[in-house]
């Protein structure tokens, strides 16, 4: 199977090179036969990349520890479930996963454009995809081969990092990768459009679903990463502004800006240059995320160490960036359009300002992430830039962005009249003001929480107003009762209302983040059996302690009775786990979640007399972060749901 995997990888690489050569020849000779062969080679590439992936999965499942990658990330005691997910636990498997998914996406594009080979754009789209695949397959077949053998057969593997033995690991890395990889397709369309000079909105229309779907995957990946950090790392938080987290957040921000201005180009055929810049930047920062993880240039909790791949990614990234800049500069005169707006005050202009904010946040995140390198280069002084810096710099920017999220729907397309503005702003502004006063009287006195909550009310009311207005209008027009009109409105105008659901999800996330960060309670203490610890309205009494073996780990668990306001509220059971092959024990979080707050308990230490050290946190409103994230994903999916009239899944995604 090792040879089979190796051969499949080599064949996939050969097919990628062959495809590039055939497509280039076809373009130079203007010969459709070469182009057709180049197109078909991409199917062959997808087939062999799939076979290589199956081979690696098989080697994990069958404990083939002769393979260095399998021995590094699995062992005999590892549950089957995690043996499969160990596929992407390390750098080599992640790269294979990337190449495999991109080859499948490429096959889908090839299938969707099967009748468009005569179009001047199509061969260039294939060429960009084939080139990107060649880069990954070059790494996989040369410097980062997942089928590389050890010189001996170890009795057992080194096992999977216990922190990665969590259900979040099934979906967090793959969804993030799917987001990164998905943006290759719109990037390929954009490059192709610039090369052939077809610079109208066609490329945007054709890639809209790819854009939004990739954005949805990136969102899921980021949210799941936060959820995994929260339940697995045991520090009571969900986002640490770690360089690798930032590296996933930056393309998300740029892609979000792009999705907004793409709407303007589709509607008004303006901002063509800007959209090209944004899609190139999105793709570059997808690569940057991978570079950051592989290069080891920055210290991160995700660190794969200096893998030697950083240089390759840096070169590829530079080629993509400067290639993109060159093409944009070359096409600049054609991309320039006659920009006209009916008014200063229009939704188009607010979209432009939201773009400025998205990019400002992306820039501050990037700058903070790489500032230790800049500082060391300029002053020779080594620094750390972590959570306090990002919270301080990004919080005001996010609040302005939140305000704009509320303002945008209040301002009509093309032109907003003074009467219109007054009518639209009055109720949300009053609601927000009244909310602020009540919150202040209720004890919310700190500036940022008060502002964040008030703005959340403002945005929520504007969105609610949109839903309400739309439903009433539909109900009047069709005679449908409100309860029928509402879901039908959502379905019929799903692109628009899907967007509003995404915005509402953002508001809910802001409420969750503000509550859980500004009003977090935390305490720590050591307890003997029968003793209690208090935090806020909770009391936790240490009742019992037990140790047992479960699959690949020894577990020591304490049982604590929870009392809220003096009344029994169930039990919780934090654990300390000693995994086979792991150097250090891990803590397993015990959670009591309600819509109001999370009671979060970890057990960092167990004493010789079974006295336990507990770290207890109360995180108000935290669950709303996950609820808001889910709403954003649902809204995003809703916005790209296909029309019933069209047929075929392939056509739909295209």
């Amino acid at each position: 199977m090792v040879n089979f995997g190796n051969l499949s990888l080599v064949f996939a690489f050969i097919f990628s090179l062959a495809s590039m050569a055939l497509l280039l020849t076809g373009l130079m000779k203007n010969d459709r036969r070469f182009l057709e062969s180049g197109r078909r080679s991409l199917y062959g590439l997808a087939l062999f990349a799939t076979l290589a992936s199956i081979a690696l999965g098989y080697l994990f499942v069958t404990d083939n520890f002769q393979v260095e990658y399998v021995a590094s990330y699995s062992d005999r005691a590892l549950p089957m479930f995690y043996k499969v997910t160990a596929f992407w636990a390390g750098q080599k498997g992640s790269l294979l996963f990337w190449a495999w998914v991109l080859s499948i996406f490429t096959a889908i594009v090839v299938r969707n454009t099967r009748t468009e080979l005569n179009s001047r754009n199509t061969p260039y789209i294939y060429l960009v995809l084939a080139t990107t695949l060649s880069f990954f397959l070059l790494l996989l077949t040369s410097v980062s081969n997942p089928f590389e053998l050890l010189g001996f057969v170890p009795r057992d593997g080194q096992g999977l990092n216990p922190m990665l033995q969590n259900p979040g690991m099934i979906f967090h890395p793959p969804t993030l990768f799917l987001g990164y990889i998905g943006f290759t397709v719109p990037f390929a369309y954009a490059i192709s459009a610039m090369v052939v000079g077809r610079l109208d909105e066609t490329w945007l229309r054709k890639t809209r679903r790819w854009n939004v779907l990739s954005w949805v995957f990136l969102t899921i990946g980021i949210i799941l990463g936060g959820q995994w950090a929260y339940v697995e790392l045991g520090w009571g938080g969900y986002w640490a502004w770690d360089p690798v987290e930032n590296a996933s957040f930056i393309p998300w921000l740029i892609a979000t800006a792009f999705i907004h201005t793409a709407i303007i180009q589709e509607r008004r055929n303006i901002m063509k240059v800007w959209n090209m810049v944004l899609i190139v930047l999105t793709f570059v920062f997808c690569l940057f995320g991978t570079y950051l993880v592989r290069s080891g240039v920055l210290q991160s909790v995700h660190d794969f160490g200096a893998t030697g791949l950083g240089g390759y990614f840096l070169v590829f990234m530079t080629v993509v960036l400067f290639g993109g800049i060159y093409l944009i500069a070359e096409s600049y005169n054609d991309l320039r359009s006659k920009h006209t707006l009916e008014s200063y005050l229009s939704r188009e202009s607010t979209f432009l300002f939201n773009n400025v904010l998205f990019l400002a946040i992306a820039f501050s995140t990037l700058f903070g992430t790489i500032f230790p390198l800049i500082s060391e280069a300029v002053t020779g002084n080594k620094l750390t830039v972590s959570q306090p810096f990002f919270n301080q710099v990004n919080t005001p920017l996010f609040l302005i962005l939140l305000l704009l999220t509320g303002i945008c729907p209040l301002i009509g397309w093309r032109k907003a009249s003074a009467d219109n503005l007054k009518k639209n702003f009055l109720v949300p502004a009053l609601a927000s003001l009244a909310g602020a006063v009540l919150l202040f009287m209720g004890g919310v006195r700190e500036f940022y929480p008060l502002t964040a909550f008030s703005l959340s009310i403002f945005v929520a009311v504007t969105i609610f107003n949109e839903f309400r207005g739309g439903t009433i209008a539909r109900s009047k027009l069709t005679g449908e009762p409100v309860f029928t009109a509402f879901p039908r409105l959502l379905y019929k105008m799903r692109r628009r209302y899907g967007g509003y659901i995404v915005h509402l999800g953002l508001v809910v996330i802001v409420i969750g983040i503000t509550g859980s960060s500004a009003y977090k309670l935390e305490t720590q203490g050591t307890l003997y059996k029968g003793e209690s610890i208090r935090i806020g309205s909770y009391e936790l009494r240490y009742d019992d302690f037990r140790g047992y073996r479960d699959r690949n780990r020894d577990i020591y668990a304490a049982t604590l009775s929870v009392f809220k306001d003096g009344k029994p509220a169930g039990t919780i059971s934090p654990e300390r786990r000693y995994y086979v092959n792991a150097e250090k024990p891990t803590t397993e979080v015990s959670l009591r979640t309600t819509l109001i707050e999370d009671l979060y308990v970890t057990m960092p230490e167990i004493g010789p007399n079974r006295e336990i050290t507990l770290k207890v946190t109360v995180n108000p409103l935290l669950i709303w972060i996950w609820i808001g994230g889910t709403m954003m994903v649902i809204g995003g999916i809703m916005a790209i749901l296909p029309n019933r009239k069209k047929k075929g899944a392939y056509d739909e995604i295209h």
Binding site: W235, D303, T340, L359, F363, G368, L397, G412
Partner: protein, 158 residues
């Protein structure tokens, strides 16, 4: 009636937000821990790392707090021992100020550029409208303008 609906929606939001407990007690130790990085090389804040080294550092903080040292004194003590990289955020002085200021400068520049473009585009839009308006649109009365706006609005909503 309209205000009752909005009011109900707002009350729900407020109830949810007000359900947040008020801040309990000062966590000076935690506050200091969040201003420091763990020295073990994990890349985590001291308050979040669970290694032995982190526990030693936390014990040092507790010791200094017991001696009545202020937050600034404790942080300086760590900086003199481990260097500035032990701080979780660069101190706001010298070259480090660039990190704090540049994002906002970037935002300002972005806003100015956006304003310039919007003004330019809006000017072109008005000029175009007035050029065409002389010939074609001058006769439009208010009623007709309203009809056109309504039609355009409908089109956009579709």
């Amino acid at each position: 009636m309209r205000f009752i609906k909005y009011g109900g929606f707002m009350v729900f939001s407020l109830l949810l937000i007000l359900s947040v407990p008020s801040r309990g007690f000062p966590l000076s130790s935690t506050e200091i821990e969040n201003n420091l990085m763990c020295d073990c090389g994990c890349g985590q804040l001291l308050g979040t790392c669970e290694c032995e080294r982190a526990e030693e550092m936390r014990a040092m903080i507790r010791g200094m707090l017991d001696k009545g040292k202020t937050k600034e004194e404790i942080l300086s003590s760590f900086v003199s021992q481990y260097g500035e990289s032990i701080l979780s955020a660069p101190p706001k002085k010298g070259f480090n100020l660039v990190a704090y200021i540049l994002p906002f400068v970037g935002l300002l520049v972005g806003v100015v550029v956006a304003v310039v473009f919007v003004r330019k585009w809006a000017f072109s839009g008005r000029k175009e409208a007035s050029d065409e308006g002389d010939a074609e649109v001058a006769d439009l009365n208010d009623e007709m303008q309203k009809k056109i706006d309504d039609e355009l609005k409908k089109l956009e909503e579709d």
